[in-house]
Amino acid sequence: MPFPNVRLTNRPLHFIYICDCSGSMAAQGKIQALNQAIRQSLPGMAEVARQNPEARVLVRAVSFADRACWHLEKPTAVQQLQWLDLQAGGITAMGEALELVAGVLQSPPMEERALPPVLVLISDGQPTDDFDAGLASLMRQPWAQKAVRLAIAMGHDADTEVLQQFIGTEPGGGLPSGEIPGASGQTPLHRSGRSPRRPLQASNATSLAQYIQWASTAVVGAASMPISRMTGSEHQANIPLPDLPPTLMDPIDDVGPLVW
């Protein structure tokens, strides 16, 4: 006879992409690279979700250009997700996008009990609307404060200062908000000066894909199930983040923008 048909109750893990679809994303195939990177990351994300009996991974996506709107509004189980391509064109209503996210992080519609949400902001430019108001509105939500907030800067025109404001300051005293990693000359915490608590610089399609993969697998894993703990990793905010993907194998990463 089979084991009784029961399982550990799981909690939802809301994963929200916040994607810049302004006109500049149409240049040099950036929007195509982003669509590809997200689509390619889905099988790995589904696998992580399956490996974790404690979580129900639900994906949504906001796109922002002239206005912000839901690209994928219904929280969708990653196993059922079919990614529809984002289209580029317009300006950069990033603040409005954060307002939209703030709307879904209040209860309701947020469930009473959940895992920390994961918010991934991807941008190649500067907000053209009231970013501060949008961020303030987002950060009034307790679930946004608890969320793992990551930011990916595509190319050298991205405003890393606003991205750092979205992430918040590093726990345990990292670089001051907005400072470019390595620029201060102080020894960085991570070997290549990168940290998941700073904007991730995707200088090319390969590193973009690596970061998207990392966010949708390693970070989803860390936010949804406890991960192996090492000495010295005791005080790492409310979710300890996994190591960034190794870019040593990709020697042109971290040297600044090449193409865009």
Partner: protein
């Protein structure tokens, strides 16, 4: 994925003679990447560490070297076989600035799936095999601890099961250390870590392994977590500080016999409430001990040998409900047992009386050498006999001779007959079997 070792390449590696042919990458995580390789026409797995992992864990290489010299405690471990470092010709081929090192191990055989598949309810597996898997897990830690070693970081993530046999494999043996020496950086995984480790009051070792082992057995047997009851419902966002409260600062077993304040919620924690009544009292007592007094007092935790005894005894009393067919585990001393699944009374079963034990006559139950000789260690891998249903008449039970020697059967009409190896002897007319291991008597 970008693979550190180029697929298809033949690498010269220090640590083993002959080249290593990298066939393809199998997977990667934050620690390193695993490849399928061919060495001297043998297929093996090669784990290669990322530089960040080596930097965080300065004694990793030394521990691995010592584990390799110590050799595997049992066949349940995918144990490191050889430590390898890149030879001069290999360094330029690696897609990493720091050459690093890795180790060879056996490939995980097909048929083994991650234990999370069972806990997540994705797997069809019988209670028999879940109890066997729990026994094999306790047995593996027994062997590891008897070698003076400890594992430190057991969790669902490094346990694999074969659903058809209950056999297990323990992977990621690179944190193994001599107990008490503490040459490692790993602390464990929250939810499986003992409270004193999570709170930073002690370092992981064999005593904290005993806590993690109990959590893992609990999760296998119930598909639930031992410390997540009503107190969890008060937690809105289950993040690190919340896990620290649940598992470290203020842990309370959901079935604590004295304090019922963290009982499972009937809706949110139904799995625990449905599965807990299945198991015999001695198993429950080991959980109560480990998650009761053992929460604060590591030396009070149930030992590996106690788990083996209780789990093997549960398997001996396994009985199939005549009404619903479900596997039940009533104690022989229980005067009026009911099926945990359908609630029907369980009739008094036929039992096989052995020199050291009593085994219920139910299809799938087996007799092992330890049933005949008290001095033999408990083991569930090489049965001498197994109870089986007749292939076309399911109600007819027999005992198959799995030993290599002939048995003599004494029937109720006084006749005697031989039961050759591989043959099955009908239990209904049986009075007594004489085997070279000892006597088997039928008790109706």
């Amino acid at each position: 994925m970008t693979w550190i070792l180029p697929e298809g390449a033949c690498l010269d590696l220090e640590g083993i003679p002959g080249p290593v042919h990298v066939l393809h990458g199998l997977g990667g995580g934050t620690q390193g990447q695993v490849f399928e390789v061919e060495v001297a026409s043998e297929r093996l797995a090669l784990k290669w560490y990322l530089p960040a992992c080596i930097a965080r864990d300065p004694h990793l290489e030394r521990r691995l070297g010592e584990s390799i010299r110590a050799t595997t405690p049992s066949d349940a471990f995918l144990w490191p076989l050889a430590l390898v470092k890149p030879g001069p010709g290999t360094v330029p081929l690696l897609r990493s600035r720091d050459p690093g090192f890795g180790y060879l191990m056996e490939l995980r055989p097909p048929g083994f799936v991650g234990a999370h598949e069972h806990v997540g309810g994705h797997l069809a597996i019988s209670l028999l095999q879940v109890l066997r898997a729990s026994f094999f897990l306790a047995e593996a830690f027994h062997a590891l601890h008897l070698k003076g070693l400890c594992y430190k970081d057991i969790s669902l993530g490094n346990l694999f099961l074969e659903p058809s046999s209950g056999r297990i494999l323990i992977c990621d043996n690179d944190n193994v250390d001599v107990d008490g020496r503490d040459l490692g950086a790993v602390l464990g995984t929250p939810g499986f870590m003992a409270p004193e480790i999570l709170m930073g009051l002690a370092r992981p070792g064999a005593n904290s392994d005993l806590f993690s082992l109990a959590v893992l057995i609990f999760r296998l047997l119930t598909r639930h977590d031992p410390l997540r009851g009503r107190r969890e419902l008060a937690i809105r966002c289950l993040d690190e500080p919340a896990r620290r409260r649940l598992y470290g600062e203020d842990p309370l077993f959901i079935f604590d016999p004295v304090d019922p304040s963290n009982r499972p919620d009937p809706i949110e924690h139904a799995a625990a409430l449905i599965t807990w009544p299945i198991y015999p009292e001695p198993i429950k007592q080991l959980f109560e001990q480990t998650f009761g007094a053992g929460l604060q007092a590591p030396q009070r935790r149930a030992l590996t040998g106690q788990w083996m005894t209780a789990l093997a005894a549960a398997l001996d009393q396994r009985q199939l409900c005549a009404h619903c067919g479900q596997e039940t585990f009533p104690a022989p001393s229980d005067p009026g047992p009911l099926c945990w699944s359908c609630g029907c009374p369980l009739p008094h079963p036929a039992r096989l009386k052995l020199p050291h034990g009593l085994v219920t006559a139910a299809a799938g139950n087996a007799l092992y050498p330890h049933h005949f000789d008290r001095l033999l260690p408990l083991q569930l891998k090489a049965p001498l006999a197994q109870v089986e249903a007749h292939p076309s008449q399911a109600t007819l039970l027999g005992l198959r001779n799995l030993s290599g020697q002939t048995w003599r059967a004494e029937l109720s009409n006084g006749n005697r007959m031989a039961v050759e190896p591989g043959q099955t002897c009908n239990l209904s007319p049986l009075v007594r079997l004489t085997t070279p291991a000892g006597a088997v008597e039928l008790q109706s």
